[in-house]
């Protein structure tokens, strides 16, 4: 079988690291004398610039002397495909990508990534859960054994998504079916849920200063992005107001067109009308009071005719609509009673019910 020695690009770029490559190769040759060693640069393999047959290596060894050991998530399935079942990836691997690794159908055993054999039963015994910290839930429900979905390639993000974060959980092109699909869905959900920390739903969170601002997308960037998204193309706008024939009756807060003055004038007029009505009511009350003196104190009894009388104070108003007593909701535009409480003919109302401010 063959061993694939993957080199991080910086290894090739620095001459002083050629020794490192040589030593590693020698060590591998000693350790696995029967295996053929193929040497490739990581990026070329990841981007499929070199043709390597799937399932042709029993071991992938990654040489990466840099501080940053991370491997793009999209590369993981490529590496996995190169392995035979039961094959392993080892060497300079990141320690913080366990979840990505698991999601790619690989198992983790003491820092080595193993492509499971299709015999699921025996693999279930592997202590997967212990290597997964917070997200152990994702491993329990049996990631092993079944063909796992393919992943989006990082280098072909949809043109719309520019500042979008790197990793992807699914490939929407995957068309698994039935039960398998359901279990995948569940798993995916669990993985998605792992992105929530407990305090995300916490009520009292005002300031979790432990999280750095650098870990967040800058709000203003989103505005710039929104142009690239061409958000405006999907905008719904109301049909022209000519069709609905609705005109605006409300003055703007900083009105300059004169509508505000018009409204104010209307208000003053209404106020005068109210004054005159209240005056007449008071007058009427006095008359009533003189008639029935002791029996009614402070109480006015409106008869239909009294109301009609008051109503006639308005020019062009017949008072015949009968809605004036019902309250503002039913009064006509320009009704002199607008702004006064409802009252009913024949029903006793006290001046008090008009409130404190008269």
């Amino acid at each position: 079988m063959s061993i694939l020695l993957l080199l991080h690009p910086t290894v090739v770029a620095n001459e002083d690291q050629t020794d490192l490559v040589l030593t590693t190769k020698q060590q591998l040759a000693q350790q696995y004398p029967n295996d053929h060693i193929v040497q490739q640069i990581m990026d070329r393999v990841a981007n499929k610039k070199v043709a390597l047959d799937d399932g042709s290596f029993n071991r992938v060894v990654y040489l990466n002397p840099n501080q940053d050991k991370s491997i793009p998530v999209a590369t993981l399935p490529v590496l996995s495909d190169l392995l035979v079942a039961g094959g392993s990836i080892e060497g300079d691997l990141p320690s913080d990508q366990d979840l990505d690794v698991i999601m790619n159908g690989l198992l983790i055993d003491d820092g080595v990534w193993i492509k499971p054999k299709y015999e699921a039963v025996q693999l279930k015994k592997k202590p997967v859960a212990s290597t997964l910290n917070a997200s152990s839930g994702a491993s329990k429900s049996g990631l092993v054994g079944k063909k796992l979905p393919m992943f989006k390639k990082l280098n072909k993000p949809s043109t719309k998504i520019v500042a979008a974060p790197a990793p992807a959980l699914t490939d929407s092109n995957t068309n698994s079916e039935g039960e398998e699909e359901n279990s995948m869905k569940r798993k995916l959900q669990e993985t998605k849920l792992s992105y929530f920390s407990d305090d995300d739903d916490d009520d009292g969170m005002d300031d979790d200063e432990d999280e750095n601002d650098d870990d967040r997308v800058v709000e203003d960037e989103l505005i710039k992005e929104s142009d690239k998204f061409q958000l405006s193309t999907s905008l719904i706008t109301p049909r022209s107001c000519d069709i609905t024939k609705k005109k605006r009756r409300k003055a703007c807060k900083d009105c300059t067109c004169g509508l505000k003055e018009l409204e104010e004038e209307e208000l003053n007029k209404q106020s005068t009308l109210q004054d005159s009505i209240l005056g007449k009511m008071a007058q009427s009350a006095t008359l009533e009071a003189m008639k029935i003196e002791e029996r009614l104190k402070n109480i006015i009894k409106f008869e239909e005719k009294d109301m009609a009388e008051i109503d006639f104070t308005i020019e062009g108003k017949t008072g015949g609509c009968g809605s004036c007593a019902l309250g503002d909701a039913f009064r006509c535009d320009g009704c002199p009673y607008l702004g006064l409480p409802p009252f009913k003919p024949g029903e006793a109302i006290t001046i008090d019910s008009f409130g404190e401010d008269i």
Partner: protein, 598 residues
Amino acid sequence: MITILYGSETGNAQDYAEFLTKRLRYYKLKPTVAALDDYPLKNLITETKVLIIVCSTTGQGELPRNSKKFLKFILKKKLPSDFLDHISLTTFGVGDSSYPQFNYAIKKIHTRLMQLGCKELCGRCEADEQSSEGIDGFYTEWETTVLKSLGVDVESEGSKEEVLSEPDNKVTIQEECEDVLVPDSVEFDRKGASLLKGTVKQNARITASDHFQDVRHIVIESDSDISYYPGDTISLFPVNDDNSVELLLQSQPHWIPLADKPLKISGSPKTEGGLTSNLTLRSLLKYHIDIMSIPRRSFFMTLWHFCDESTEDGEREKEKLKEFSSFEDVDELYNYANRPRRSILEAILEFQANLNIPVEYIFDLFPKIRPRLFSIASSNIKDTGTKNRRIELVVAVVEYKTMIRRIRRGLCTKWLKTKVAGSEIMFKINKSNLKFDLPSEDPPSPTTALPIIMVSPGTGIAPMRSLIEEKIASNSPQPLYLFFGCRNKEKDAFFNDVWEDLQEQKLLNYFPVYSREEEDAKCKYVQHKLIQQAKLVGELILNKRAIVFICGSNGSMPREVRITLVEILKKIGNLTEEEGTKYLADMERDKRYIQETW
């Protein structure tokens, strides 16, 4: 499966979200509705297939307060690009194109959710308050599209059934229990997080007695240690007066025998600041239910169901209430409620004869009292350098007249008037994270320190006072320039003596301007004063990298100040219109141009 979330500062966006919820329920769909921050985020993964977001924009293109947590979460870079690929999304932005950051909040949300893999359910909408159709015109168009995309056959008669669904937060009275007398002290016994208690030390009018407006200088002493910075605000939690509560109870006689029994609310009832303890119907109405606000469309959409139509009067009233809940004639509701600023209580009293509101629906039907925010007008630093426990406010009392005979009074205003010296008060401090010095200054020296230009007409003076006190108490070398505008020197020039005094000590450069002192004065408003001082202002901005801080009522002031500053940059810096505009935009990006308006 359908989740409707809203981000709302004044309740407008919330109204559209709730209205849509009720509409979808008519078509037998079962949406969940919540504020962006109240929705358990994990449910986006486990429950949500269709996500509908309605959100307004506040401040400088920011999200409303009840959506900050949501935003903070979705902004995390570690989230993968197919994180939400199971979700179909549509959004509705409530905005006003007279602001430069028109509908920025919904743009941010939509873009980010698309980055996280959401698909679009249908076209989205950025409603514009300035358009002739108003927000309503946009909404109806968008709603039609949303309904169609959800597979609702709007045309077909049978698809819609106007039935009221079970309340989300059902109120159950424990009738078997004895009456409970809930003490007034429950006002301070709320379940909300980070609430603080203090005592009002002063509540004094600072405008002349013959001035049209009553502006209060309120001093609160916190019971515990507090920490705040210039630009921070405090939330106050107003409550209804007993008289209004009693009027509402009387309007629903079947509530009266139940009023003082303990009650339970199902689900997870949300209200900012949290519920008070030992709830009864009476205390729920007093401390949480907003009956003084203007009734909204979604309110009538539930209310009309409770109107008894067995009589002719009832039938007519029900029809009217239903009209208020529809978009058929949008002016109908506007003229009845918004324009005269009619309160929910007044509306109910007008319709009470045939209204029978089931207790179970109270929490769902009524809006909840929202805390009111005020800019802090004092500094947290004591002269000795330690922190004090004082918070000072400058509050304009809201009182005005409309067509309705009775004077309109803000709920908070009315309540604050009762908070005389010695009263206890509940509050919460909100961080603004505004910065008035830039990191480049180390060590700060009089030659490199960035000057601060403050522009603040009226009660916009509040955060400026905090900033000035803070800078002086900490011996900051940053030069301070205050442009203050009001009507008359003798009537509403807040803290004029203090500013003049500081001016004399060379600690502050004070530029007051009065709009009603002289009939034909050329210099009336802050923007006029800025132009008068063009050379100074221009050089401070261009050569000394001054920070500009604008605070006050929104509307024309911030816009005109902006235009004025561009003019000054053109004149003093020889910039073109375009360059000047860009210069301000860059200042804004670098947080050197800060605007706080309300």
